[in-house]
Amino acid sequence: MTTVTEAPPLAPAPETKPPRQARKRGRWTPYWLLLPGLLWLVVFFALPVIYQASTSVQTGSLEEGYKVTWHFATYWDALSEYWPQFVRSVLYAASATVLCLLLGYPLAYLIAFRAGRWRNLIMILVIAPFFTSFLIRTLAWKTILADGGPVVDALNTLHVLDVTAWLGWTAGDRVLATPLAVVCGLTYNFLPFMILPLYTSLERIDPRLHEAANDLYAKPSTTFRRVTFPLSMPGVVSGTLLTFIPASGDYINSDLLGSTDTRMVGNVIQSQFLRILDYPTAAALSFILMAAILVIVTLYIRKSGTEDLV
């Protein structure tokens, strides 16, 4: 393998001159290859987004039909009515992202540097839960965090719940139906999306860099702070994005593990669309969410200075 890649570059292949007909066909090949897939994305992704933008400025009713009236007040009304859900979404998603990073980094580090022959097994154990429907696994948290269950009892005995209740994360002796349960579920659901990119960028680090740092009398903590962590930044950036974006639009954890007091913007969009059938408000909400995410993501990428995410 190495011999192939390290061999000196060969002289460029002699430019074969295909007959005019063939060359013309070759010039169009990329477009033919791109056409079906891009058409699919344009019709079923880009067009719907534009449609939704137009729906958000329509007025009317389900019976009489909707008309575009450039009614931008829908945005204002939606924001003023549902800003708590927006704030909650960002807060919960951000907390879950931070927790994912704190929990995921040691595991990614363990797999990359310390697992030895257990590496493959641990990798399998990280990925395998993916294949059990995530709804079933999220429902399992209802059992784990059940009132009077071992987890809640232990937290109660250790007076952890008093602290979290004081912080407003839990209420009374319960964990279910509180913000803590929702954030816990979000963290759980998106943890693999943090671990895998982290692992990929940690695994690329040359172990000799660690040895070099060690030889230069760096303490292990210094090595981590000055060598390992900076080199794993691409993984941190794409991991946090892969966690934050889906978490901010999620409504499943809030629905299954939370209560009406933990409703996120995803819950509002879902119920507006599928139960209340107020399409303009729903469209406006989802458009605001999209815009907010794009702004946050762009700023974040600028700040962290990595362009190649995919």
Binding site: L41, T55, L103, Y109, I144
Partner: protein, 266 residues
């Protein structure tokens, strides 16, 4: 002191194992509760050991129909997304063309958008077109959101491919079709397989986009969601456990085969 030192040295291992336990705990619960015999409609508290559900996994009406529908949709969506995505990946790596930036962002955006936004906008389109929500709208949606992931997976593989291998094939008088089938495709295969596997997993497990665009059609995740409101049958846990076990076995088998192959090569 020695214990403190030991702790210091192994702190990262302990923290990593804690995370692993956090990741696997729900699967343990799902498995244990598949042997439960719940008293009420909900399967959240332990009552007594029973293998009833394992003997009759399809015993709940609608469960296995939804499962087979999900499998069908996942298979077709995988096929569609893999085909379209592979073509795009090849075009992106191998050819120069106009509006490359626009193409790249069109592929990146679906991955950078919360599912609920895509789901809602697609539903707006379907409602405006007066489309009948059901199998076809789900399939269309699944191909749409799986496509980008396939492109990323295949692109990575095709990019690392040595173009001189294809030139060599052509020098040895292989025609373009022969070169593609006998050289290009086999080398790109692992990337295509990874993309297809990802597409299958994403489609099979998708809830949010399906929830919006399914109408009254019930896929497996939709069935689980509905049962969470009405009462979860133990059979749901049985299916969940079976999927986990099958997935682990498949991955272990593929790793073993891969190991043997690389040993043969060496």
């Amino acid at each position: 002191m020695t214990f403190v030192n030991w702790l210091k040295r192994h702190l990262v291992v302990l923290a990593g194992l804690f995370t692993l336990a956090y990741l696997l705990l729900p699967n343990v619960v799902v498995t244990v509760f598949s042997f439960n015999n719940p008293k009420g409609r909900f399967n959240y508290t332990w009552q007594e050991f029973s293998t009833e559900a394992w003997k009759d996994p399809c015993g709940v009406s609608g469960l296995c129909t939804s499962l087979s529908l999900s499998l069908q949709i996942a298979l077709w969506a995988t096929l569609g997304a893999t085909l379209l995505g592979t073509m795009i990946a090849f075009a992106l790596v191998r050819y120069r063309f106009r509006a490359r930036g626009a193409v790249n962002s069109l592929i990146f955006l679906p991955m950078a958008m919360p599912e609920v936004v895509m789901a809602a906008s697609l539903l707006t389109l379907f409602l405006n077109m007066g489309a009948q929500l059901g199998f076809w709208t789900i399939l269309i949606a699944h191909i749409m959101f799986c496509l980008s992931f396939v492109v990323v997976a295949v692109k990575a593989r095709v990019m690392s491919m040595d173009p001189r291998l294809e030139q060599a094939a052509q020098d040895l008088y292989a025609g373009p079709v022969q070169t593609f089938l006998r050289v290009t495709l086999p080398i790109a295969a692992p990337g295509i397989a990874a993309g297809a596997l990802l597409a299958f997993a994403l489609s099979f497990d998708d809830f949010i986009i399906t929830n919006f665009n399914a109408g009254s059609t019930v896929t497996f995740p939709m069935f689980v969601w509905g049962s969470a409101q009405r009462g979860t049958p133990v059979q749901v846990n049985v299916i969940g456990t079976a999927m986990f076990v099958i997935a682990v076995l498949l991955v272990v088998a593929s790793l073993l085969i891969g190991n043997r192959r690389s040993r043969q090569k060496a």
